[in-house]
Symmetry: C2
Subunit: 457 residues, 2 copies
């Protein structure tokens, strides 16, 4: 661990001390300066958020976002821009949900609620039943049909505040949203409320996809705000009889045609070796999708713009991809893989940015040991730009399928402290994004892409 | 540089591999968990920002903040709480400033403007003159009296966007605010406008202290928003005659009595060795002073609360200090030093948090080599909590004077990308602070304080 102490010496001479890194360091500085001085990612994001807005798969807005980002890629200087078709689910929320709590049949307390993505509607009459709170699946299983049948289950899974990396807490508590409705239905529940997967306490309900199990009934499922969950849990602790009423108006319509949006700069010497960089274009219907994941899209476009503006002709082909349907189906990711297989494309490397546009922290590597070692050999080039944490771990769900064709995968990991305050909620808006943070992220991504393009893996 | 690759292995076993660090690691985890689960810094900050608000030295609000933080320290469990008197400057802005641009004596364009702190008022009639833009002091000196005399100088010093650490850009461009009015007056200017020291482009003017030179006249000085500065520069480039009108209503009143607020937990074995941790309680009058520097104050109080709640009795005395008058005089800092000298106190170590309540990044060390080496020996204990950058550099202007009595100094360095978007402006409000980021900062500060208290330096 000695070396850390000398990081700041290396910041000034990383390029000189390590063989061949002087040029790399200078090139990365050039790319970073271009993005920090002239970057357009922030303005592109403003357009996506404020001129288009929420863009759930199958919606008119999603289609607008397809056309808009294709145009952004053309303006950024991609030499080829095209749309890659895919069929996507078309879930619609319908009219705003109603959800409230009744004590002894009276004394209504309205809840800040939203239906979970992919969930079924409650029917016009809505549903009404007693509320059973559970804090774990063990507890649910222990209570079983005797207690659960005919009830509304309230999954009160708090995101663990002691986990420094908030994605870990999201992964753990997220099981309530992903599997809660199916598991409650197994014991005869007629509806589900989950505590929003949020790291803060406020009034926004956070949606997100749930997955039913075909063996059990599909029951209505909502998220309630963290403030409401905290309040409800305290009320339930008083052991008074509490009923909930839920009315949701959502439904799954037939699949719709949609697209991944792709822009390339052809490689100069090895155009057949493809480097993919991207995020996902769809967002939840309640959110502008600024952090999730407009940020990742505009960062990928920005790499194309910076290369084009600096007239960098990469050795290998750089492909910026706006994936469709990450949020509730992954159909864009599958279409991208299918096309790669069909065309026998050689996908060397893929980098996804789908963890927000926050200040850069790290890069997560999911690849073979020699490839990992090669990237680790470049790590001192990133310290100056705030990237220290080179970890082994997941990459992103859009590029994940490329693992099947042996692609080395990486995920851009910005600081995660603020991400789940807004994730999948109405609060995920453009104003939460810092231009400098967004552009600094793009600069780090561009640097990694440049190194892989130049030297391979 | 090999070691970085193994950081994430060390995250899980830092305490085991290094001799004696298992206990330290467990204790730091205990402190961090306490703060992340039960921390009260965020609510204390809400009170400072929303119930009190701006609290410039000498104001009624500053006095309210003194009483409020003394109360917070008592509630946090400090065993001694006291006020340390100091006389502070009492500058007042008066009625809102008027500033506009005229083309050919007509066509008024209003500017988003505010007087610089400590500056003189324009008089009731205001001032009016042609505008001369300069981008460096070299340019000002070159133009000299021939061009400058009788004019309003517009210092258009952009914060360099390519500097990753934004404090560097602030230091460089900040010379316009600190010295611009004095230097323009030297050549006969009748007023000064500076481009706000902001890293973003918006409509907020950013104030901050200026310093006159007694050899030259004291002339009115304002900051204009970055948007206005960009606009004005473009208009001036058209070479049309442009006049500005400025009316400011500020004045310096007689000094007022005020206080540093101090809360201690007495050391168990070495109570005479004092460890100071703090921020400054005063803020500019336009801002809630959430990031600058309510955050540093409530983090210091949080350390007391966490120790008290966990019943940690430190070996050495921990003293949380809310310094008064950092923004326009440093009188609290001077009083703290004077008292230390007078009482012959032994000040072992001081840590200041005055760079915002953002996500933790580093700790800046200003101390002798052996002390620095001792702290560097603990650095792997901080990686898990996001602190990687142990640098040599400044600490904070409130603890700076303690250097005269040989105190080892350190500055907490959170991420700096967003700080200058809001610094000294009306946009520095509570809503810009993330609870998790604020508390994670307090946890890192508490950990460092604990290590120094336990092991000395």
């Amino acid at each position: 661990m000695k070396a850390i102490s000398t990081i700041f010496f290396f910041l000034f001479c990383a390029g000189i001390t390590a063989f061949g890194q002087a040029t790399d360091s200078a090139m990365i500085r050039k790319i970073a300066n271009e993005i920090l001085q002239h970057g357009n990612a922030y303005e592109n994001l403003r357009y996506l958020c404020k001129k288009i807005g929420p863009r759930l798969s199958g919606s008119e807005n999603a289609q607008k976002a397809v056309l808009a980002t294709a145009d952004m890629l053309r303006k950024a200087g991609a030499d080829t821009v095209y749309l890659q078709p895919c069929m996507v689910p078309h879930w619609v929320r319908g009219a705003k949900e109603t959800a409230y709590i009744r004590f002894d049949g009276e004394n209504v307390h309205n809840l800040h609620a939203c239906a979970l993505g992919n969930s079924v509607g409650s029917g016009k009459a809505g549903i009404s039943a007693g509320v059973i709170e559970v804090r774990s699946f063990d507890e649910l299983n222990r209570l079983g049909e005797a207690v659960i049948k005919g009830k509304i289950v309230f999954f009160n899974f708090e995101m663990n505040p002691t986990y420094i990396r908030t994605f870990r807490a999201y992964g753990e508590s997220g099981i309530a949203r992903r599997n809660g409705p199916a598991q409650a239905a197994r014991y005869g529940a007629i509806g589900v409320m989950i505590r929003s997967l949020a790291s803060n306490a406020d009034d926004y309900p956070h949606t997100g996809g749930t997955q039913y199990n075909d063996s059990f009934p599909k029951i209505p499922a909502i998220a309630i705000s963290t403030n409401d969950a905290i309040w409800l849990s305290a009320e339930l602790a008083k052991k008074k009889p509490i009923d909930a009423y839920i009315k949701t108006n959502c439904e799954m319509l037939p699949d719709e045609p949609s697209f991944n949006v792709i822009g390339e700069i052809k490689g100069s010497r090895l155009p057949g070796e493809i480097i993919t960089v991207g995020g996902h274009l769809d967002s939840w219907d309640l959110a502008e999708g600024a952090q999730d994941d407009g940020a990742g899209c505009v960062q990928a476009i920005e790499i194309i713009r910076a290369y084009s503006s600096l007239k960098i002709r990469p050795v290998r082909t750089i492909r910026a991809v706006m994936f469709m349907n990450e949020e509730n189906g992954g159909k864009g990711a599958q279409a991208y893989l299918d096309e790669a297989v069909k065309k026998k494309e050689n996908h060397l490397f893929a980098l996804e940015s789908d963890a927000g546009g926050f200040t850069p922290r790290g890069i997560s590597l999911d690849m073979k040991e020699p490839q990992r070692n090669k990237i680790m050999g470049w790590k001192n080039l990133f310290y100056e730009y705030g990237v220290y944490e080179f970890t082994s771990g997941g990459s992103g769900s859009d590029i994940g399928p490329l693992k099947k064709v042996g692609t080395a995968l990486a995920g851009f990991s910005p600081d995660s402290q603020r991400y789940f305050d807004v994730h999948h909620a109405g609060s995920d808006v453009f104003e939460t994004v810092s231009k400098r943070e967004l552009h600094l992220g793009a600069a780090n991504m561009a640097a990694l892409i440049w190194l892989v393009s130049e030297y391979g893996l």
